[in-house]
């Protein structure tokens, strides 16, 4: 009961914030609405007993990504009202979004999902670490992520370095 209530509160917050993100004119407030949306999603993770994921969501999305988005906004104060060139696309975009929403809702409702019957794990950190780093888990994918970060750092260096004369 309490869990269901929490879920609905978070869900309403997430959707409302997401709607604000697309409808607000002021681009800084848009970014703030995005943060609220991220936090609400983190709340959803908590209702799913995925506390580690929720903390990671806050840390990465709110603490790092949103902050970088805001920083980018601050550096481009001229576009605080959004791009006027996008305005004629409003209706087509709305149509596409509505169709997509209908499709996804239909898919979610009509599909026979695989639902696990086991109760959620109480301390999630141990099993999670075994999944991420254990030899019976996804250690290779984790290691590839490390290589991916190396590639991203190299790319960032390339793009950030000043062009030589």
């Amino acid at each position: 009961m309490g869990l269901a209530a929490a879920f609905w509160v978070m869900a309403v917050f997430a959707v409302a914030a997401a709607l604000l993100v697309v409808s607000l004119r002021n681009i800084f407030r848009t970014a703030l609405a995005l943060i609220v949306c991220f936090i609400a999603v983190a709340g959803l993770y908590i209702t799913l007993s995925a506390d580690f994921l929720a903390a990671a969501q806050i840390l990465v999305y709110v603490g790092a990504i949103s902050v970088l988005i805001i920083l980018a906004i601050m550096m481009t104060r001229e576009v605080r009202q959004g791009n006027p060139a996008n305005r004629p696309l409003k209706l087509p975009v709305l149509a596409v979004a509505v169709v997509l929403l209908g499709l996804l809702v239909y898919v979610v409702v009509a599909s026979p999902w695989q639902v696990s019957g086991t109760p959620p794990l109480a301390p999630t950190t141990g099993p999670l670490s075994r999944l991420l780093f254990g030899s019976q888990g996804y250690v290779l994918a984790t290691e590839i992520c490390a290589v991916l970060i190396l590639a991203a750092i190299l790319g960032a260096i390339v793009l950030a370095k000043e062009k030589e004369e």
């Binding site: 009509a110 599909s111 999902w113 030899s135 590839i144 590639a151 030589e164």
Partner: protein
């Protein structure tokens, strides 16, 4: 299966990714050496050694059917074929880059390292046995390529990198959603497990659940971006034009081949059974193929920039390749797991042929652009007189792209179309042949400009040693595949996918 010396049960997990690890070590070595050596050619040499070492190790896995890391990575002849293809391509690219990298002298180490990292990602894609590995290796490739695209740092290159990044991010989001839906409906991440779960769910029923259907559509869209099929091709012309020419060559060959490798891993083999499901996605590929070929060939005609033109041409080639995918799904033995599918070997042969052909064309363009400083077709006037050998090589590659014997492009199309006819897709083959004829127009226009028009200056176009070697190897490859196709075809027919 070949006899293997090692005790298979006791192989440590890291053994399965040894070729990738070697390549990665050499990538790191390149970065570190970059700090100390002033003669940057050493970096190219180190990269080449790494590629050769990795290739030799990959070869050792030919014929094995092993899974490592709990099924996250598979080694089979399919993976080895593609790994060798990717390594071969990056070998030739490194050779061809010799002069070109001088335009970004300070970043040469990063250039080679990112090239190797992208290749590593593609190799992992070819061997992926789990949707997590599929996704992260795809991202590894993608991120390296985004950075490589922006290497020139001029307006066009930056714009190209940004477009590629944005559209690539959307495509990978789409792909991830598809993977999530498929995970949700099957509850599994391993490709083999997913295949069995799908088969179990669909046996006896005549329709797919909406989630599986949407998941499959999203997968095709996500991978469609990678192989640049219309309507997911928007990035191609700008990116190909803006990126450094060597990177464009890498993109058009290796990245596309990786896309097809992953499609054959994730779609055509996992969703091979039941038959009607295979026919469903085969129809999707057939429709996409028609769209891709026709639109790309028509749009390529008015292009005046040769990189842009080759961009559209490479989209069209993806269209021909998708004829093979359609045949793979509609053949009596759908999917690669049935083994010896003529469609699969056709696609593999086409990819090998296309790799040599397109690399040759792009290397020629790189050398010419170094000298004349332009990618406009009009500036190629009289190239036949200014540099007969270069022009000849480029002509030969363009002829191969049309599909005229003795170049390999002919045999490649022949194999794929034959497989399609056997799979009752005659209508598709007819459309493809009509398209080949259309494409002849714009390829031959370049040939005409090069040989029949008078040059603006009599100055020769010189070329330095290594790029010429790369070009020669490519042309030889095109010729060899065209005249003795049986050799590589035998190999392609032996290729089999392993699914634990």
């Amino acid at each position: 299966m070949n006899p293997i010396i090692f005790n298979l049960e006791k192989l440590p997990d890291w053994f399965g990714v040894l070729p990738e690890i070697i390549l990665l070590v050499f990538a790191a070595l390149v970065i570190i050496l970059d700090l100390f050596v002033s003669q940057k050619k050493i970096l190219a040499a180190v990269s080449l050694i790494g590629i050769i070492a990795s290739g030799a190790l990959s070869l050792g896995f030919w014929g094995t059917e092993l899974s490592f890391f709990n099924g996250l990575i598979l080694t089979d002849s399919f993976a080895v074929f593609f790994k060798l293809l990717f390594l071969g391509v990056s070998f030739l690219i490194v050779l061809a880059s010799e002069d070109y990298v001088n335009s970004f002298r300070r970043l040469q180490g990063e250039y080679y390292a990112l090239l190797l990292l992208a290749t590593t990602g593609m190799m992992l894609m070819a061997g992926a046995g789990d949707i997590t590995t599929v996704y992260v290796s795809l991202e590894l490739t993608g991120i390296s390529l985004y950075a490589l695209t922006g290497f020139l740092k001029d307006r066009k290159s930056t714009e190209a990198a940004l477009k590629y990044l944005l559209l690539g991010a959307i495509a990978s989001a789409v792909l991830l959603y598809g993977l999530a839906l498929i995970f949700g409906i099957t509850g599994k991440t391993g490709l083999g497990e997913i295949a069995r779960a799908v088969q179990a769910q669909l046996s006896g029923s005549a329709s797919v659940s909406p989630a599986l259907f949407l998941g499959l559509v999203l997968l095709i869209a996500g991978f469609g971006f990678k192989i640049a099929s219309i309507p997911f091709h928007m990035w191609v012309p700008d990116v190909y034009e803006g990126a450094p020419t060597t990177v464009t060559a890498f993109l058009s060959v290796a990245s596309k081949a990786a896309g097809f490798a992953i499609i054959m891993r994730v779609i055509t083999s996992v969703f091979a059974a039941p038959d009607w499901l295979a026919r469903d996605w085969a129809t999707v590929f057939a429709v996409l193929s028609v769209l891709t070929m026709t639109a790309a060939n028509i749009v390529a005609i008015p292009q005046s920039n040769i990189k842009r033109m080759l961009g559209y041409s490479s989209i069209a080639q993806a269209g021909y390749l998708m004829v093979g995918l359609a045949a793979l799904g509609s053949s009596p033995f759908p999917g690669a797991l049935a083994g010896m599918s003529p469609a699969q070997s056709g696609v593999l042969f086409f990819l090998a042929s296309y790799a040599f052909t397109n690399l040759g064309a792009f290397t020629a363009i790189t050398i010419i652009a170094q000298k004349i400083g332009s990618d406009e077709i009009a500036d190629y006037a009289g190239m036949g007189r200014r540099s007969p050998l270069l022009a000849l090589a480029l002509t030969f590659c363009l002829v191969s792209l049309i599909g005229i014997p003795p170049a390999s492009g002919f045999m490649a199309k022949f194999y794929i179309f034959r497989a399609a006819v056997q799979a009752d897709l005659l209508w598709l083959v007819i459309i493809a042949v009509i398209n080949s004829v259309i494409s002849a127009y714009y390829y031959l226009r370049v040939v005409k400009v090069m040989w029949l028009e008078s040059p603006p200056s009599a100055e020769k176009v010189p070329s330095s040693a290594l790029p010429t070697v790369s070009l020669a190897v490519s042309c030889l490859g095109v010729l060899a595949l065209g005249t003795i196709p049986g050799l590589i075809m035998k190999l392609a027919e032996m290729v089999n996918q392993f699914m634990p």
